[in-house]
Each structure stands twice: as structure tokens, then as C-alpha cells.
């Protein structure tokens, strides 16, 4: 980025970002500066990429006209702790309207790749068309700016994600990497393929400790372009730490915003894994395809219950004091750390254990690890498999696939292996399409084609308005447990005023776990980048970016009918959940009326994208 020091948010056109566009079909590479049109483009992430996608007409996520935008946020690669995010944006094979058209989507991941991309001299990489052979994109810094080339990638095919990264690391020891796994190579049979991003820890240990741009099948889109990996090689370019950023980083590493994700021995609550205990108070931990029973089984996956079995180490991406990764290792007889097994975050852990009826941790960690190895989104893969388990439990005489049902860890593992290697395309298309083909969509836990994360929909009527996954783009998934307010007024406000603002960090380049409030985030842009932005200006830009996401959904055929809940929520309220069953059809209809009264107006008033030429 070229930013005039103390530039203000009111003059985005004086800010330029550095973009590389690759026509993969021709091998043509174009690099240049692009002026920003508004504050969202200055901030970056999906605030910029969605404006690019808005200029395209795409009817098939795997068609050549679907571009993939790989970009960073303004704080990616900066000294601000957690400023590590990379964003992958495209029309998604998984997120589709009822018309079948693909919807715009982004997925974000940490690791060190984004920083290296920025230090190599690029803010954005646009991939057009499809290479006729598997390639790796190599981006390297030079005195005359970033150098970009395409190299053959045949030698990487078939390798697990982390194996690909380690192979590339041997060739490029000063680089970091993005890579797809076997799932992305078999993209036509696995729509929820993800993109792995390398961490220092992975390169140092050789263990599968990738970070993930998981949601929405961005790995499938990258695979459809025959891009197997991306290499970003550059010298680390961290400026001298200013007193202001030092103070901010101290707040991030030790303040209340990240305490939930920090380790217990550092005054934290132990990571997202520790959601189990408070949610179980209300019987809100998903069990057996999002149907909590109140039988106490979730307690078997409480972190405290597994401390004797495993050594749990808190590790990080790069220069991050939060150490949110809760990696589990074998515990040797003398109590010391043995072999690495898997990373236990709440989402993959729940969706592959309690929500699949699997309660033995020695059955669970191989499932979590295998999904990572193969390069799939553990949420979409887990939730789609949980639908299959439920279907088979309901149809014991005519099961589908291998007949797996709840608790069949070996058969679940078989399903994961097969879908991740392209052998089960019906399963790999996600729960929306699969459930419609099976004629039983009511208990498919998805909204708009994206599978739900591990929070029961019975307590979150905000899910349908999430534009990039239910717990990444609409902060309403925990509110019933947190505040218990089920009034219509509360929910309209929760969705239209507060919930949508959680996408802020997906413009800025920082991690949600940093826990910055809006004032801190705005202040950090001035302190670290020299961009003077008021909190109100930041909120306005974030809100506009979100509304543009809804506009893009409408462009792809979404109507009000697309914004609904799994019918089971309306028709079969779960008596085990300790909360008022308030998400009735009548409540939801009234909520929709009021939410759309707000959003429709803002969509109508959205400033047009003035430059119609794709840049």
C-alpha cells in the first residue's frame, strides 16, 4: 500500500494498493498500483474483494469467469499482534441460492503467509481463468518489486496439505505457503475443500499445524484453477515497534479481549474448546446432529476430562501472545510430551465427537487430524457427515453410503477418507444439496448452503443473515446463553446493529481473537499505518461492506425464501435445551419483516461501484 502519512479516511483515492493479476490460461502476469475508491478498499480483505466480485456475472463457481481474489488487510504484516490474516474470496461452490447460482464468499486464515505476501510487495493477487496443468504460484521480493512466476506442481499432487507445504519449504526456505490438499485436487467431488496456510511451528516441527481458510470451498475454487499452492518469499519486514503499538499489543496479549483464548496458566480460560462447559449448563452443546439430549455425554469432551490423557500445549501462528492453538500430544508414562496428534478447537472437536455421537478421545483425534490432512473445512465436512449419520439413524433399513450412524467412528473415518479423495461426490456437495436429493432437508443444518458451526440453531435466528458463515459473520450465535433475551426487539437490534459488525476484522487483517473494540481498532490504523479513521467512519465502512455482501447475494438470485432456518427448529423444538423455544415460524416471519425493513433500505442506498471495469 502507498499511504500518505496521516492520510484521512476521507481521501481514499490517494491510497494505492499493489495488485498482481494472473491469467492462468495464458500465463500472463500483470502487476500495478490501483487507487482505492472508498474506505473499504483501503482497509482491504472482503471490503475490497467483494467490490471486484460485484463486477462479474458468474453462474458456475468452477467456470473460468469466477476469479479468485487473494488479499490481505491493512494491518496484515504490521506490528499489531494477530495482524496475520489472508483472505480468499470468490463465488462459492457451496454457498448457493435456491436458484442454484453460486454466492460470493470469503474465507480468512492466519499463519504467516499473508505477512510474507505483503512483505514480498503485494496487497492482492487475482487469479483469472484456469491453468492447463497443475501449478504453484511463486511470489518473491526483489529490488524492482515483486517477481511472480508459475511453476509446475505435478510433484505435489496427492500429498496432504502439510506435506505439500513441507515439500515447498525445502525449495523455498525463506517463504511461507498456501496449499490445497487432496480434497482441493478433487474439487468437483468436494465442494468444501479448504486452503492451508503455513505457520512457523509447522515448518519447524513438520507436524500438521496449518491454519485454515476453511469456509465456503475456497480450496475447491483454487483447485478448479489448477493452482496447487502459492509461495510468498520475502525477508521479514517489521518496522520498529512504536510505543503506541507496544501498548496495544500488551492489551491484546494480556487484556480481557483475548482472555478466553489464552492458556489457563497465563490467566486465560483455555481456548474455544472451553465453550463446552458453559454451553452444557444450558444443554446447548450440539449432540447427534444438533439435537442435545441432556444426557451429560458432552462432559466427556470437557478439556479437564482429557488433561490426564493428553499433554495440551498452547501454541501460536507467529509473534502472537494469545497462543490460541490448543495442540494435543500423547502423554508419555512419565507425563512428558509425546507425538503430536491434532489441534482441538471447539468447532472441529464438537462436530467430530459429541455431535457425531463419538465420545472416546482416541476415536476423535484421528478424525480431526484426517480432515486437516486432506484439506477440508471441518465445519462443513463434519456437519454434512452428521446429517448422514442422522439420516441413517432414521432409515436403518435403507441407509446411505456405508451405513454409518452416530458413534461409528471407524465408518465416519471411512467417509472422511473417501470424500477427501474425491470418491463420494454426493457427500462432497454439502448438506443442502445432499438433503434435497434425499428428500429430507428439514434436519440438514445449513443456511444458504453453508453448514452451521457448532452452536445450536434453536437459539440463533440470526444465522440466515450471516454472509460468510454462521459464527464468522453474524455475532448472534451465543446470545441466548449470554443474555437470554428472546424478544423481537432485541433480535432485530442484535442482527441489524451489532451482529453484522463482527466482520470488521475481515477487512483489517487482524484476528477476531485479538478482541479489539472499535475504538482500539480505529486507533491502531492511525498509530501503525498512519491512516486517520474515526470509530464512526470505521463502523460505516464495515457496515457498507456487509450490506454489499447482502447485495451480492441478491445479485445471485437470493430471495427472502433463502433466508430461513432448518425446518426442524420450527417444527420440533428441542425440550432438552434450557431456553425458551422462541424461534417459531411466526417469530421468524416477524423478525424477517423487521430485519429486511432495515437492510432493504440500506441495500437500496448502497453507493454504486463507479468503475465498472474489473481491475
Amino acid at each position: 500500500m502507498r499511504i500518505v502519512p496521516n492520510n484521512s479516511a476521507g481521501s481514499p483515492q490517494t491510497v494505492f494498493y499493489h495488485r498482481c493479476t494472473i491469467d492462468l490460461a495464458r500465463g500472463a502476469i500483470d502487476i500495478g498500483d490501483v487507487p482505492c475508491r472508498n474506505l473499504e478498499e483501503v482497509l482491504g480483505g472482503f471490503g475490497r474483494s467483494f467490490q471486484y466480485l460485484a463486477t462479474r456475472d458468474v453462474s458456475d463457481a468452477f467456470a473460468s469467469e469466477n476469479p479468485m481474489v487473494v488479499n490481505t488487510g491493512l494491518l496484515t504484516g504490521s506490528n499489531v499482534m494477530t495482524g496475520l490474516r489472508t483472505y480468499f474470496s470468490a463465488y462459492s461452490p457451496l454457498k448457493v441460492s435456491n436458484t442454484g447460482l453460486p454466492a460470493a464468499m470469503w474465507s480468512a486464515g492466519s499463519g504467516k503467509f499473508g505477512s510474507k505476501l505483503k512483505w514480498a510487495g503485494l496487497d492482492e493477487l487475482i487469479l483469472e481463468n484456469r491453468s492447463d496443468r497443475p501449478v504453484v504460484i511463486v511470489i518473491r521480493e526483489s529490488d524492482s518489486g515483486p517477481q511472480v512466476e508459475l511453476r509446475p506442481a505435478d510433484h505435489l499432487l496427492g500429498q496432504y496439505c502439510h506435506e505439500k507445504i513441507l515439500t515447498l519449504y525445502a525449495e523455498f526456505p525463506n517463504a511461507h505457503f498456501a496449499a490445497i490438499g487432496p480434497a482441493g485436487e478433487h474439487y468437483t467431488a468436494c465442494y468444501y475443500a479448504a486452503i492451508a496456510l503455513s505457520t512457523e511451528n509447522l515448518l519447524k516441527t513438520g507436524d500438521d499445524k496449518c491454519r485454515w481458510a476453511g469456509r465456503g470451498g475456497m480450496g475447491a475454487v483454487l483447485g478448479s484453477k489448477n493452482v496447487i499452492g502459492i509461495v510468498a518469499e520475502a525477508t521479514d519486514r517489521l518496522a520498529k515497534l512504536s510505543p503506541e503499538t507496544r501498548a496495544l499489543n500488551k492489551e491484546i496479549a494480556t487484556g480481557p479481549g483475548s482472555r478466553k483464548f489464552r492458556e489457563k496458566n497465563r490467566g486465560g480460560l483455555g481456548g474455544t474448546w472451553a465453550n463446552y462447559e458453559p454451553l452444557e449448563q444450558f444443554h446447548m452443546v450440539p449432540q447427534n446432529n444438533f439435537s442435545p439430549t441432556g444426557d451429560g455425554k458432552p462432559e466427556l469432551m470437557f478439556r479437564d476430562a482429557l488433561e490426564d490423557r493428553f499433554v495440551i500445549k498452547a501454541e501460536s501462528c507467529y509473534r502472537c501472545g494469545i497462543n490460541c492453538h490448543k495442540n494435543i500430544y500423547e502423554r508419555a508414562a512419565d507425563g512428558s510430551k509425546g507425538a503430536f496428534r491434532a489441534k482441538f478447537d471447539y468447532e472441529p472437536l464438537n462436530l467430530l465427537s459429541t455431535n457425531a455421537g463419538v465420545h472416546d478421545p482416541d476415536d476423535v483425534w484421528p478424525l480431526v487430524a484426517l480432515i486437516d490432512h486432506l484439506g477440508m473445512d471441518s465445519i462443513s465436512c463434519g456437519t454434512t457427515i452428521n446429517y448422514v449419520l442422522d439420516y441413517n439413524a432414521r432409515h436403518p433399513d435403507s441407509p446411505v453410503f456405508n451405513g454409518a450412524t452416530f458413534g461409528d467412528a471407524d465408518k465416519i473415518r471411512e467417509l472422511i477418507e473417501q470424500v477427501g479423495t474425491g470418491q463420494l461426490p454426493e457427500l462432497g456437495q454439502g448438506s443442502k444439496r445432499l438433503s434435497e436429493q434425499l428428500g429430507e432437508p428439514d434436519y440438514a443444518m445449513q443456511c444458504k448452503g453453508l453448514e452451521l458451526p457448532a452452536y445450536v440453531p434453536d437459539t440463533n435466528p440470526g444465522y440466515p443473515w450471516a454472509i460468510a458463515g454462521g459464527h464468522m459473520s453474524m455475532a448472534t450465535y451465543m446470545l441466548v446463553a449470554m443474555e437470554g433475551d428472546t424478544s423481537l426487539d432485541y433480535w432485530v437490534s442484535a442482527i441489524t446493529e451489532r451482529g453484522l459488525l463482527m466482520v470488521r476484522d475481515d477487512l483489517l487483517g487482524i484476528c477476531k481473537f485479538a478482541g479489539l473494540n472499535t475504538k482500539m481498532a480505529a486507533q491502531s490504523l492511525g498509530d501503525e499505518i498512519g491512516l486517520v479513521v474515526s470509530p464512526d467512519e470505521l463502523v460505516t465502512a464495515v457496515r457498507r461492506a456487509f450490506i454489499r455482501g447482502l447485495w451480492l447475494e441478491r445479485k445471485q438470485g437470493y430471495t427472502r425464501d433463502d433466508y430461513t432456518m432448518p425446518a426442524q427448529v420450527f417444527d420440533r423444538p428441542n425440550p432438552a435445551i434450557k431456553a425458551e423455544p422462541f424461534v417459531t415460524r411466526e417469530f421468524f416471519a416477524a423478525l424477517s419483516d423487521r430485519v429486511w425493513a432495515v437492510f432493504d433500505q440500506e441495500i437500496a442506498n448502497l453507493p454504486p461501484i463507479t468503475d465498472e471495469t474489473p481491475r
Binding site: G255, P256, G257, R259, K260, F261, G267, L269, T272, A274, N275, E277, P278, L279, Q281, C324, D345, Y346, E347, P453, Y455, H471, M472, Y477, M478, A481, M482, E483, G484, D485, R498, L501, K512, F513, G515, L516, N517, T518, K519, M520, P535
Partner: protein, 101 residues
């Protein structure tokens, strides 16, 4: 941003640090100074001043919200910690036990 209305010379002036969930509901105030002799008193002073935080801190029955966790001087308080006595200069934090990722 921190907010202080408790005269600094008063005894039992304590500072309550707030995560973004709270701060973004009260115009970015991320720390509040109150005067109180117990944790419960400090939290009551917080919500008296910032009514928008009431449903985050308290249940309808007036008990501490069961999904909130308290830290006093960086040490987690147990379930009964709300009756804990405070001393001048103490640092209190309240954070939600549920957050995604």
C-alpha cells in the same frame, strides 16, 4: 478509552476492565473506575452507570450471569467470588465464557 467518575482519593476505588462485547455497547469505554467494597457492589455500580450492560452482567433474577467469568487482579474468581471484598487499586475483569472460533 477509560472512564473515571470515582474520586481518586476515595478508598476502594477499583478499575473494571471490559472486553469489546461490553465496550462497543457503551461508546468504546473499555475501563470503568468505581468505588465499591465487594465485587457485587462494583458490578452493580457498573451497570447503574451503564444500563446497557445490565443484561450482560445480571440475570433477570438479579444473580450474576452464569456465562460471565470474573477475574480479580488477574486471578479467576470462583462461583462465590461475587461476595469477595475489594481493596483500593484492585483490578476487576468480566468476560464471557463463550466465544467462537
Amino acid at each position: 478509552m477509560s472512564e473515571s467518575s470515582a474520586p481518586q482519593h476515595l478508598s476502594n476505588a477499583v478499575r473494571i476492565r471490559l472486553p469489546a462485547l461490553f465496550a462497543d455497547r457503551i461508546d468504546g469505554v473499555s475501563a470503568v473506575e468505581v468505588t465499591a467494597t465487594t465485587v457485587a457492589g462494583a458490578l452493580r455500580a457498573l451497570t447503574d452507570r451503564h444500563v446497557a450492560l445490565t443484561t450482560l452482567v445480571w440475570t433477570g433474577g438479579g444473580a450474576l450471569n452464569p456465562v460471565m467469568v470474573l477475574f480479580l487482579n488477574d486471578r479467576q474468581l470462583s462461583g462465590t467470588g461475587i461476595t469477595h471484598t475489594l481493596h483500593s487499586g484492585d483490578r476487576l475483569e468480566i468476560i464471557p465464557a463463550i466465544e467462537g472460533g
